[in-house]
Symmetry: C2
Subunit: 386 residues, 2 copies
């Protein structure tokens, strides 16, 4: 399929289907959504101003499948290097970042070099940190290859890596200069990764755009068999949902916190599962727990909780916490969740985002975080374990 | 002297002498300049909003001399920890930063913790990086203890650390929430460090505020014996010079680049000397070279070059490159200077800031960087070596 890149006659203009102008506060960048890999795909890269060379950061699989060919295309105009590393969660840390920084500097790059993060969310975060820290910030482009990256991680200014004390505790904000998304990449993606991304779409629908839930329901299937048009819909509504809450809150500290729905418990489940549960599915379980918590506290109805379960089932995600995961291990991770400190911390309580009703977060004194007693969280977790 | 901290009756109100409102573009922070350590000194810390605890980052000497006492004072109101490390140039790297990050996280800090960088420029940079990267940015206060830190490094949004490929190649911009400077700390400072800081004052005078040169000349002495009033003058004119160029250029990329005068060659001399020449004196030599280059290119007069030399002699700084430093080792560092890439790079040329006349940088197509042939740089370096 990639061979089209080298046959300009094969280029179908309508394959380059949409350009979104992402606006998060004062920070803006273009998001090009394409279907089908052709020479046109890399054209926006070549048109970036003030760039004298490129360094593509990716894993070995992406290098072999796509990046070598993109490099060849770029090299007709600019110096281009590839640095590949194993893009797994255990490598999303400062040690590996330092190795990448040293490797990039070894290439004698300049302030005009553009870093291209070519891969999933982890690759994007590492490339984002890298570009932010080299010479105090150089140009940075995302080429997301997973659904999760396309509709979630590249639609954020957040860059973060893990510490031995928890996920995403280290990081900062850094704006990409461009996103080049290509639905073609999704065709080689394992089903589990599509499901993981779809969980974020469900989250956006339940929290920000409830008016799209019915439409979404009709398109979803547990086989993750989606057409280009369907993927475009998922990305489209996710961009709109994110822009709706981040246009006035680019740093996701106020209303943007709604995007963390399901994450307090979800992160803990993901970490406690040691990676056996994907980020998306862990957030899905986290949303279910949050719905149970809200129901227990008298907000969401039984039917709202069932809506959570149904949507997750529709997209083929798990709705039960696997047996091997112990309640205590999830709770102990939660106790050092990185949302601590948004509110002054109280022992025996967790800070969570819960819904007052579908599409509307519960507000507490202007904050989206609700203090929830550990007992209620335990109760909700147990309901997904029995 | 520090004992005064615990005797509120000894407090002289006039010791708290000035508060400056630092404005670099949209970024602002207060700079409190104090003489004499009393309880009042830590008061602004205790008044910071939204803080639930403090972590002081310093070296062992500062911990012993001052930080333990400041901690005690803070602890009457807030949790306060001290993390000390050896603040030398070889430790200004990502490995040590990672150790600090892990140590701070081990203290179970929150998003409301305030990091206090208590020390010289290296300590300030490491604390700045630390506060910027924890939870994507937490509160950050500078307590500078060296003259260089008081009048240069805390007056910048730049945070940077070294890579094995060069000084300050890794970093980003991060705004402190406050500066608490105290002239008292300078009383225990070695003369060499005072001279180093004074080189930056000379730089500010030669490049931005030539109208203060005469006044400065009258106050300087090679013994570095200065009164509180004189230090206040040096800090005052440095704040004014920095604000003049950074008010419209907070990231020091355009007119703010003038602050890098003497740094292209100076950094190389500092690095090649393996720390035996202080940052300030290295920049002093760098300015002398830049003046020679400008003279050779037909801009500065012989008298302007002599003014550079005279000012440096007045403050007790060296004006000759020590014998043990080889020309080739300086040039090889320069070839990978971190200013590469502001202009597209040309082999055999260096990008330097040179003066057209005293107080006025030479402009090239709107840029402060001039392409200088290696031969002319060599000539200038040799003049300081014979």
């Amino acid at each position: 399929m990639f061979e089209k890149l080298f046959d300009i006659n094969d280029l179908k203009q309508n394959e380059i289907c949409s350009t979104y102008e992402i606006k998060f506060g004062q920070y803006t960048y273009p998001y090009h959504l394409v279907n089908g890999i052709s020479r046109e795909f890399v054209k926006p890269l070549l048109e970036l101003e003030g760039v004298d060379s490129f360094v593509i950061v990716c894993d070995e699989k992406v290098e072999r499948l796509y990046a070598q060919k993109v490099k060849k295309e770029i090299q007709a105009y600019y110096t281009c290097h590839i640095i590949s590393f194993h893009c797994g969660e255990p490598n999303k840390n400062l040690k590996v970042l330092e190795q990448l920084i040293e490797k990039v500097l070894e290439l004698r790059i300049t302030r005009r070099t553009c870093i291209v993060g070519f891969g999933g969310g982890i690759c994007g975060n590492m490339a984002g940190m890298l570009s932010a820290m080299l010479f105090r910030g150089i140009k940075f482009v995302h080429i997301p290859t997973s659904l999760m990256a396309m509709l979630d991680s590249v639609l954020s200014l957040k860059q973060a890596i893990n510490s031995s004390y928890g996920k995403n505790l280290i990081g900062f904000f850094h704006t990409p200069d461009m996103v080049l998304a290509n639905i073609e990449f999704l065709k080689t993606l394992p089903k589990a990764e599509i499901v993981s991304g779809m969980c974020e779409v469900v989250k956006n629908a339940l929290t920000i755009i409830p008016e799209r839930i019915e439409e979404l329901c009709n398109l979803c299937n547990a086989q993750s068999a989606y057409s280009f048009k369907e993927y475009k819909f998922f990305i489209d509504i996710s961009i709109k949902a994110k822009m709706a809450v981040m246009k006035e809150d680019p740093f996701e500290k106020e209303q943007g916190l709604i995007l963390e729905y399901g994450h307090t418990i979800g992160h803990a489940i993901e970490l406690a599962s040691k990676g056996s549960i994907s980020h998306g599915e862990a957030v899905g379980l986290g949303m279910l727990c949050a719905a149970e918590v809200s129901h227990k506290m008298g907000f969401l109805t039984e039917a709202d909780v069932v809506l959570h379960t149904d949507l997750l089932k529709k997209i083929g995600a798990i709705t039960r916490i696997p047996e091997e995961l112990k309640l205590e291990s999830i709770l102990s991770v939660m106790r050092f969740d990185n949302k601590r400190g948004y509110l002054s911390s109280e022992k025996g309580k967790f800070h969570m985002i819960i819904l007052e009703k579908i599409g509307k977060p519960l507000m507490n004194n202007g904050s989206l975080l609700t203090s929830v007693p550990e007992e209620i969280v335990k109760h909700a977790l147990k309901k997904l374990m029995d």
